[in-house]
């Protein structure tokens, strides 16, 4: 059976990808951020997961307002990245995992999650930056990726509680899959930030650290918040916490925190990194 062996939370902002494009990792601004990643990379290289399920949000590459899903899952054999308009380098094609993707998608729909299923989709920095961070130099070719995309842009948005439940359903689906695969989950985005309006620049360090604690030990408490609460406490784009919650929902066994880092600001955000090991 497939097994979820662990999970990573990470920021996915474009500025990280552009810093890597320009080899700025060891500059004073970026060093406290990038220096936290080698232990996570080492763990991934040791555990060699077969599949990574990435919870992210599309920021206007694949989806526009014309037909914007609440939740979408990819079932393709390959995903392409593309020009997002402001200069981050594109990354080489990402390999998909069709069988497990369809298994999850089927289980979700049968369990009343009304997900949009994508047999072809472009993936944006929300997914590509975490891949670049975990496997620098595009060394992710051996890993199969399943993209799970959550609307964090336009209201109505799925509630934190619904995102957690989506994760729970995905976790159950993975662990009922009849192939010996090791699966790792990435919860990407966040933490507190606000890009738009006179309130732009908002960061709430205390909330971010509280989120990181609760994601590990008491995620249900975070699911009691509304998206408007998140917006107020974590800034307008603080709703990206929903991707962390979806990831966390899928971890139904025991988890051990192996590594953490928090650094702010990175660009306009608080950046939280967690490495969690998972076993039943």
């Amino acid at each position: 059976m497939a097994k979820i062996i662990g999970a990573v939370t990470t920021s996915h902002i474009p500025a990280i990808g552009m810093a890597m494009d320009n080899k700025l990792e060891q500059t004073p601004y970026w060093k406290p951020f990038f220096d936290a990643y080698p232990p996570v990379r080492a763990w991934l290289n040791e555990k060699k997961p077969d599949v990574v399920v990435i919870f992210y949000n599309d920021h206007g590459l694949e989806f526009f307002l014309d037909r914007k899903p609440t939740f979408a899952i990819g079932t393709a054999a390959q995903y392409l990245n593309a020009d997002e308009g402001w200069g981050i380098n594109t990354i080489p094609p990402v390999t998909g995992e069709t069988e497990l993707s369809w298994h999850i998608a089927t289980d979700l729909v049968e369990n009343e999650f009304d997900i949009t299923i994508c047999q072809e989709m472009r993936v944006d920095h929300g997914l590509t930056v975490p891949l670049s961070l975990m496997w620098p130099g595009h060394a992710y070719g051996h890993v199969k990726v399943i993209p799970v995309c959550i609307n964090c842009e336009r209201y109505p948005m799925p509630t934190p509680a619904r995102c957690f439940k989506l994760g729970q359903a995905i976790g159950r689906a993975i662990e009922s899959f009849d192939q010996d695969l090791n699966v790792v989950l990435f919860g990407t985005g966040g933490l507190s930030h606000q890009l738009d309006g006179e309130r732009a620049g908002f960061i709430n360090r205390e909330f971010d650290i509280d989120c990181m604690n609760k994601i590990v030990t008491a995620p249900e408490e975070l699911t009691k918040l509304s998206n408007y609460d998140l917006m107020e406490i974590g800034g307008a784009q603080g709703v990206e916490l929903n991707m962390w919650l979806a990831m966390r929902g899928a971890l139904t066994g025991n988890i051990t925190e192996l590594h953490r880092n928090y650094h702010a600001p990175i660009s306009n955000t608080g950046a939280g990194l967690l490495l969690l090991e998972h076993e039943h």
Binding site: G60, D83, R154, G201, N204, Y228, P265, S267
Partner: protein, 117 residues
């Protein structure tokens, strides 16, 4: 019944009302994913706005680089970010424009907020 919207000064909640209003504007900015679209815009900004059917207020806000105006007219920050990129502005530049600070002042605010000061 839908939850009541919070009153958060300086925040433009991008919901159905704003998204209706901003549809043409956002569609134009979404087109900036393509280099040919960016070039067409830069060659004749007003004509490009007209091609997407922007309102007068939206067009003026584009031509004036008035980010707050664009948000009020229904712009989504996701697509406005592509407009910003086209202008070679990053998120700190955009933050400074919106808050009326200098870029250095805005960065210092980010530093303080990030440090929890």
């Amino acid at each position: 019944m839908p939850l009541p919207k919070p009153n958060l000064p300086g925040t433009y909640i991008f919901d159905g009302g704003l998204s209706n209003k901003g549809y043409a504007l956002n569609k134009m900015c979404y087109s900036f994913n393509n280099v040919t679209a960016r070039e067409a815009f830069m060659a004749d900004e007003a004509a490009y706005c007209d091609q997407f059917g922007l309102s007068d207020a939206q067009k003026k806000a584009i031509l004036d680089r008035d980010i707050i105006g664009l948000l009020s007219e229904g712009g989504s920050i996701y697509y406005l970010a592509k407009f910003a990129g086209l202008l070679k502005l990053n998120m700190q530049d955009i933050g400074a424009l919106q808050t009326g600070m200098s870029v250095d002042e805005f960065k210092e605010m980010l530093r303080k907020n990030g440090a929890g000061e």
